[in-house]
Structures are given as C-alpha cells and as structure tokens.
Amino acid sequence: MGFPYDEANWAVVDGAMYMGAGGSMPGVFTVIAMAICVAVLFVGHRSEAKKASRF
C-alpha cells in the first residue's frame, strides 16, 4: 500500500499515518475482518454441533 503521502518524510505527516490512509483499503480490510468473524462463528458452530451430536 505504501506511504500514504507524496513525500517519504515524516515531517509532512500531521494526521492519519496508518497504512492505506485516505484510500479504500482500510474499508476493504474492515469488511474482510468482519467476514472472518462471521465465517469463524459459522464453521465453529457446525464443528461443535457435529461433536455434540455424538452424545
């Protein structure tokens, strides 16, 4: 993603300094992280239900 400012110098930074600042990537990462949480809950429940059904 690279440094989010034109010049590779910290002197030009006076605000957001995270990777992807000012672009769309932070939003994309947030959506991916949300999807991971949902997918893990889905897979985790399915696996646990399968094990519990043996008893």
Binding site: M1, N9, M19, G20, I32, A33, C37
Partner: protein, 465 residues
C-alpha cells in the same frame, strides 16, 4: 512607563515560573512513564512462571519455577554489568564507531554505561539524571523476557547452571546485539536497510525463539517424547488452567513492554518537544497501540480457536497475534492487524507440529510462537508498509520487503548461532542435561527441597476429541 516595565518584568517572571513548573511536571511524567513499565513487564514474568510450571509434570513443577526465577535474577545484574554497554556501543557494528545520531559507539557507551569511573554517574542514584535508571530498568526487563521465552522450551531436563549461562548469553548479549543493530536510530539495519521492528517481533521474540531452537538441538527431547519410529507422544503438563492463566498474564505485561517502546516528548533526550515517537523517531500514539494490540489479541485467539479448540493454543494464539503484528503496531490499520493476527493464529499449531515432526521437543511451543511467528511478523510488515520512512529526517531509508527479509535473517542468526554454539560447549562440558536417572525420578526430587502439592491434585475428566 516605569510602572509598565515593572508590570512586564513581573509577567515574565510569572511565565518563567510557570514554564519551570511545567518542565518539572514533564520530567516527572517521563520518569514515571518508564518506571511503571517495569512492574508491568514483571507481570510478563509472573505469566511465564505460571505458564512454565503449569506445563511441567508434577514431578518437575518446582524445578521449572526455580529455573525461571533464577534466570530473571541473573539477567538484571549481568545486563547492568555489560548488556547495557553492548546496546549503546555497537549499533553501527564492529568496531563500535559512532553513528549519525550521535548516541552510539564504544566511546559513547564507555561514557554512560559502565558501573565505574566517570560513567558511574549515569548508573546509580543521581538527582540530575531522572532518565538513565528507568531506561535501564525497561531494557533489563526486555532482556529478562528473552530468557523467559527460552526457559519454557527446555523444561524438565536441563541443568540449572547450564540454563542460567544460556540465559545470560541470550539476555545480556545475543538480543542486545540484535537490538543495537535493528532497534537503535544508529543501527545499521535501520540506517542502511530501513528495518522497522517497533514492538521487537524480530529482535526480541525471533532472537529468543531461535536461540531456544539452537539449544533444543543439543539438549535433545525429554525421555518418552518420541517413539522408536520417530512419532511423537504428547507430554501433558500437570495444570492447564495455570498455564492458560500464565499466558493471559504475559499478555497483560505486554502492554508495559510495548509502552516502553515509546519515547515520550519534551525532554532533552526526546525526539520531539510536543509528540511521542518510536525508538526510531517516527511518530506514534498510545491510541495507535490500544487499537492495534487489542485487535491483534482478538485475531490471534480466533485464528487459533478455529484450528485447535484448545485453550493452550488459543492463548498462545493471542501471543502470536501480538508478535505477528508487533513490528508495525505503530502504523497498521486495526482491521489489517486483526487479519494478520488471525493468519498467525491459523498457522501456529501447524508450524509447531512441523517442528515436532523433525524431532524437536519444544515443551511449550516457544520456537514457533516467538521465533517463527516473530519472523513472520517482520516480513509481513515489509509486504504492507513498503515505502514508509524508517527514521525521522530527510533522505532516510524506507521500509521495504527486502530490507525486512534481511532483518529477519540477521535476527534468526543472532539467536540461533549463539544458542547452538554455547549449548554445544555446555554439552561437551557435561553442563547441559541432567542424567537420565535424575530426569526419570523427577527434577523436584533431585533439586528442590520442597513439594509443589503435598496433598495432591484430584483427577479431572477425560478430554474431548
């Protein structure tokens, strides 16, 4: 006119008094900031102690504790005697020339880091120096952390004194060299290759993890760990709840560890008068750490849960989450931190199993959690943060994937080579491993004049599949 001048003089005096008060307040704040990181980092050691004792079988529980406590005790004076000097003396490599920031080199180290002569004024109580002691304390605790990382891997068969010698080599020399090169504004890895490792994923965790690997190769597995056909047996610790609680304590202590990686503003030794910075002089906020550390813990736990369902690996996943993102906790976007930490949690157990299949008996997974995941974190930062300036100032080196790979290789070597060589020498001297009979009898019976559980522990239920 005279009245106005008198008024102005009074005003200036008032402002000067206020500014002097603010200066004292800032100095006290700076001193207190680092002072408080020390007890927070001691919580890491409470955690390692519980973790390691819980991971030991009942016959070894106290000897594991003795070993861990003793490593901490030897780390502090040896870091005082020479570790602190190594850190300041060799950022530019051998022979210890001064670097561009003017705060390194053998001459500089001689002036501030020996416990004798002129430099002694910076190594003891001094009313004019409210910084050296708290900086030394924070770094000494980093050093002790490296020793504790190695400590868990070698439980249940190592000799106490042999282990303490290894801990001193790791904590007061090996990681210090890596820190001088990659965690100092004059460090050659930083100035030449743009290596960025804010939270010490490589220079603390990977160095300690691969030092442990070098030791484990010479130490060999515990009796009964591997079968004749090479397959491995699981040797369960006697107290999983203690181990898991210990891991959680390590994570509590990490807040102090990472806090100590921040340089506060407004002092003569600060990078800035008005904003905090990393050790490289690049900007950081404690808010950045709060966002990213929490997301890293969560991502690591969730990744490890989906793969293992085992609380030991889940809490190890939390550690792996922090370690895999530690290099860039100052600049990662929180959701990206979560994703990287999640991936570290996913691969954690697989990496540990891979190592076990190669005949390495790492009792607590330290090589994987700290070593492998530490290097993974260093390299991940190279992928996502390429182009970021690695230092404060114009025309400085920038972070790159190649630079981070160079850093990862150097950190690996800084750990593995001394770990392997020194443990090999100890093995030749008969100082590495206890005799087989003593190992089978239990190290507590052999070494410790006390009982861990005089009244026993009731058996628990059978584990789930």
């Amino acid at each position: 006119m005279e009245e106005q001048i008198a008024e102005l003089v009074a005003k200036v005096a008032e402002l000067e008094a206020a500014s002097g008060g603010a200066k004292v307040t800032n100095t006290m704040f700076a001193e207190t900031f680092y002072y408080l990181t020390i007890p927070l980092m001691i919580i890491i050691h409470a955690g390692f102690l519980a973790y390691e004792m819980g991971a030991s079988r009942m016959k070894n529980v106290l000897s594991s504790g003795v070993k861990n406590i003793l490593a901490f005790a030897f780390m502090i004076p040896t870091f005082y005697f020479f570790g602190w000097w190594v850190y300041w003396g060799f950022p530019t490599g051998l022979p210890g020339a001064p670097g561009p920031a003017g705060i390194s080199g053998v001459e500089y180290a001689n002036a501030i880091a020996w416990g004798w002569g002129e430099s002694a004024q910076y190594m003891g109580p001094n009313i004019a120096d409210q910084a050296s002691g708290v900086f030394f304390g924070a770094f000494a605790l980093f050093a002790a952390t490296t020793a504790s990382i190695m400590s868990g891997a070698v439980i249940e068969r190592i000799q106490t004194v042999g282990f303490v010698i290894l801990a001193i080599v790791l904590g007061s020399f090996a990681w210090v060299v890596a820190a001088a090169w990659g965690w100092h504004a004059d460090g050659w890895l930083v100035t030449k290759f743009g290596v960025h490792d804010f939270g010490a994923a490589g220079l603390v965790h990977a160095v300690a993890g691969f030092f442990a690997l070098g030791v484990l190769i010479n130490l060999g597995p515990r009796i009964g760990k591997f079968n004749a056909d090479g397959s491995a047996n699981h040797i369960a610790g006697h107290n999983m709840p203690l181990t898991v609680t210990g891991l959680m304590l390590i994570i509590v202590g990490f807040w102090g560890f990472l806090m100590a990686c921040v340089i506060v503003p407004g002092e003569a030794w600060s990078w800035f008068g008005d904003k905090p910075s990393t050790i490289y002089g690049t900007p950081i906020t404690l808010s950045a750490l709060a966002f990213n550390i929490l997301m890293a813990i969560a991502g690591g736990i969730i990744g490890a849960w989906i793969m293992t369902k085992d609380p030991f690996w889940m809490m190890s996943g939390a550690l792996a989450g922090i370690i895999s993102t530690a290099s860039g906790l100052d600049i990662y976007w929180p959701a990206l931190t979560f994703i990287i930490a999640f991936s570290a949690g996913l691969i954690l157990k697989m990496c540990a199993d891979w190592l076990e299949r190669r005949g390495i008996d790492d009792a607590v997974g330290a090589v994987t959690v700290h070593g492998t995941i530490g290097l993974y974190g260093v390299i991940m930062l190279g992928i996502f943060a390429s182009g970021y300036p690695a230092l404060q100032g114009e025309g400085v080196a920038t972070i790159s994937l190649m630079g981070q790979i160079v850093g990862a290789v150097v950190f690996f070597l800084c750990g593995f080579v001394p770990g392997f060589v020194v443990s090999y020498i100890l093995k030749m001297l008969g100082m590495l491993r206890v005799p087989a009979g003593a190992e089978q009898a239990g190290m507590d019976t052999v070494k410790v004049p006390a009982q861990g559980y005089p009244e026993g522990i009731p058996a628990s239920g059978a584990p789930a599949e």
